[in-house]
Amino acid sequence: MTRCAEAGFFGRMEATATPAVFDSGSTAWMLTSSALVLLMVPGLALFYGGMVRRKNVLTTMMMSFAAMAVIGVQWVLVGYALSFGTSVGGVIGWDSTLLALNGIDMTKPFSDKGIPELVFVMFQGKFAIITPALISGAVAERMRFRTFLVFTVVWATLVYCPLAHWVWAADGWLFTRGVLDFAGGTVVHIAAGVSALVLALMVGPRRDFNKRGAAILPNNLVLTLTGAGLLWFGWFGFNAGSAVAVEHPAGATAGLAFTTTQSAAAAAGLAWMAMERWHHGKVTSLGLASGFVAGLVVVTPAAGHVRPGWALVMGALASVVCYWAVQLKHRFNYDDSLDAFGVHGVGGILGALLTGVFCFSPVQGVLSGDFTQLGKQALGVGVAIVFAGGATFLIASVLKATMGLRATEQEERDGQDLHVHGERGYHFDQT
C-alpha cells in the first residue's frame, strides 16, 4: 500500500520526508475514501440481495449489514491492533495501547503519511468489514444466520487480520518479501473468495440447486444493478484511497489508481457482454453488473502499479476467465450461490498474478521481461489460498459441530426472512 511511493515513477525524486503535520488535501481524500468504502457494504447488500429469492432478500442483505455492526466493533476493539500494531515477527500485530484505539495520538500524522492515524484506522476498518460480507454470497439462502455472524467475527480475527498484517504492515512477512497488493486483491478478494468456496462446500447446496424443474430466479435485478453502481462508486475510495496521499507527487498514484479502476471496470463490463452475446445470444443486466465487479476485483491489487491501457486488458481478461469460472459450479455441482468464489476468488487470483505481469511501478513485471515479481505474486496467492482455505475449514468445522452451519429445512423452504428475522422484504399487497 505504501510501497508505491518509494520507487517506480517517483524513483527519480528524492524520498518524501516524514511529514510532521497533516496534509489537509490527503486528509480530505482519505475521509472521503473511508466513507466511500463504507458505502460499498450497502452496495454489496443490494447487489447480493437482488439475486436471491424474495423469501431471503432480508437475510441476505443482513449478512452484509450486520458486518458493519459486528466488525465495526471488532475493528475498534482489537482488529486494528492485530493488523497494524507493532509486528510480532512479521506474523501478527499487537500493541495494547491500540485496544479500543485508546493510545492513539490524535494530532500526530500516521507513519510517513500526512493524515491522522485515526483516519487510517477507519479506512482500513472498512476493508475489514466488507471482506467477510463478500463471503456471504457463497452461502446465501441456506446458511444459518446466527452461525454466519459468529463466523464473521472469528474469521475477521483469525484470518483477515493476520493476512492484512502479512501483506500490508511494514514488517509483515509477505510485505517484506515484496508481494504487491495495492488495495486488497489478496487480502480481500482471494481470502474472501477461497473461504467462500470452502464454506459453500461445507454448508452444501440449496435444496433446489441444480434440480430439474426448480427455477431459482433473482427477485429484483434493479437492486443488483443499483448495488453494482454503488460498488463501482465506492471502489474509487477502495483503490484510489489506497494511495493514502494526494499531495505532490504521491497524488499521481491516486490519480493512476482511479484511472485503472475505471478502465478495468468498463472493459470488463464490455467483455462480459460480449461473452454472453456469443454464448447465448443475449446480453443480461446481471452479466453487465457481474462484469463490472469482476473488472474491479482484478484491478484491485494492480491499481497503482499498471498503466491504464493494461488495465483495460486486465478487465477484459477478468470477464472471460470469471465467466467460465462461474459455469463450473453447475458442472461440479457445488453451490456458490452468488459466485463469491467465481468472481472474487478467481478474479482476485487472476489480478494478483497479472499485477506481476503488467506492473511498471514501483517494479517492472513480465512485460519488461522480468519474472521476479510474478514469482512473488504467486507466493502471495499461494499463501492466501492455503491459509484462508485451511483456516476457514477449521473454523467452519468447529461451528458445524457446535452451532450448526445450516438453516433448518423449513427455514430454507419458507425463507429465513420470516423465520429468523420475523419480517418479509416486501408487503406489496396490503391495503
Binding site: 427455477a215 454472453e276 452479466g287
Partner: protein
Amino acid sequence: MKMIIAIIRPERLEAVEEALGAVLDEGDNFRITTDTVEGRGRQEGEVELFRGHEVHVRNVQKTRITLCVNDEYVEKTIAAIQRGARTEPNGAVGDGKIFVVPLEEAVRIRTGERGGSAI
C-alpha cells in the same frame, strides 16, 4: 346465467376486450374481471439467464378473465374471446382455453337487484 372463465395470453387481452366490446350490448361498458395467473399447459415456459446458465421456468404467465353473462350471450362471448385470443393465422400452443361454469345467482350490491338484470 353462466360464468365464463378464459385463460389467455396477456398480450392478447387488448384484442379480446375489443372483440368483447363489439358483441356485448353494453358497448364499451361491458363488465369483466381480470387477474394474472401462472399456467402450465402444453406451452413451453420461458427461458431466463442467470450468469450464463439457462433457467427454465415451467410456468407461463397468463391472464385470466371472468365474465358473468346471461345465457343468450354465452356463445357470442365465447366467439369473441376466441377471435381476440387466437394468434394468427392458425393459433399456436399457449393461446389458452375457455371454461363455462353454471351461475346460479348474481347480486348487484349497490341496488340489491338479483338475477339476469344484475349481471
